[in-house]
Symmetry: C2
Subunit: 198 residues, 2 copies
Amino acid sequence: MAGKVEARKAALREKLVDAAEIRIARDGAGALRARDLAQDAGCALGAIYNAFDDLNAIIMAVNGRTFRGLGAAVRASVEDADAEPPTRRLILMSNAYLHFAIANTNLWRALFDLQMTAEGPVPDWYLEALEGLFANIARPVGELFPGMGAEETGLMVRALFSSVHGIVLLGLERRISGVPPEQIETMIAQVLRQIGRS
Amino acid sequence: MAGKVEARKAALREKLVDAAEIRIARDGAGALRARDLAQDAGCALGAIYNAFDDLNAIIMAVNGRTFRGLGAAVRASVEDADAEPPTRRLILMSNAYLHFAIANTNLWRALFDLQMTAEGPVPDWYLEALEGLFANIARPVGELFPGMGAEETGLMVRALFSSVHGIVLLGLERRISGVPPEQIETMIAQVLRQIGRS
DNA sequence: ACTCTATCTTGAACCACGTTCAAAATACCG
DNA sequence: CGGTATTTTGAACGTGGTTCAAGATAGAGT
């Protein structure tokens, strides 16, 4: 039984990430407590630090799952929409982004919270997941601006993603924006339609 | 000497906010420590809680200053630009926003960090400051879309602000965006010019 | 099967931090 | 100047992430 240790460790890691996902989804990443996690996973407090470097590493593992789900949601929103005009596809993806953020607010927020906490480099899979999102946006943008150079197109893709992200981010902050969620779709459509208007 | 106590208290408050501003600007709001602050202000640890409810209240006081500075910077950017076309004025304001964020990254970040921490309502002055920013944007937007209803215009104003905010936010996160600061202006201009194109 | 060694697991302990509070100092009033 | 109210103080409390030495366990060699 050479892999027994490995298997136990992997099982513990999975239990910890499961528990962390549930807690982050319910209470936000800032409310994650090592002692709660140990209790949920049925392990000792110190065992967490055998499986992961620190709590942040667990949050990053949860972020990995979240990013996969987000990517799938965005991709699915345009899966059968090849025939739609590019602006329409951008709006479909943005709405998918919005509804993912609404349905998983705390998990989604954790994705962009690595900012102020950690200093170290962002893991590769994180950047790759982001590039995956950008790739979806790049197709309709390329159709909208056929004459645009590659570099400028890349900037436009990032600019559009950031714009939609900003609208969703502030829009979900009801206390600040004062805008009901239904109106967020309207704002996204306003901006994207103006941009895509030929 | 009836006002002596008041004056001392006010002086302490000011010293605390000064010290907090310096520390937040240098290390970020998350690195603010009550003990450091007490040392900087030359008061006892507990005295902080005589002057303010808690550390968050000090951060909010700093946010008040930051918001005033941000509002002034944005206003100044279009002060002598009445003759410019609306799109140009939107770009001027956005660039002012960007450069304020670049020059005061940590202070600017703190403005939008009240999200996950506190639950209570946002103070009135905060919402008013935000409305002040929106009012600046509303003028050029009104000129760009003369036929638009008041409600729709309001949404467009918020949508544009959120878009620029998103571009600046992710743009300054070099680790994520991989876009050099000079390119952020380009992204803003790309989006705003597309939207304002008549 | 039985060591023996390396590894894992455990939870008490450590440290940092926000916040509180009773005592000491100070201010204000008669 | 004496007495009361307020403020200031910093030690102490509670919480929470992380560590570590001791005990438990697994796998290899015989």
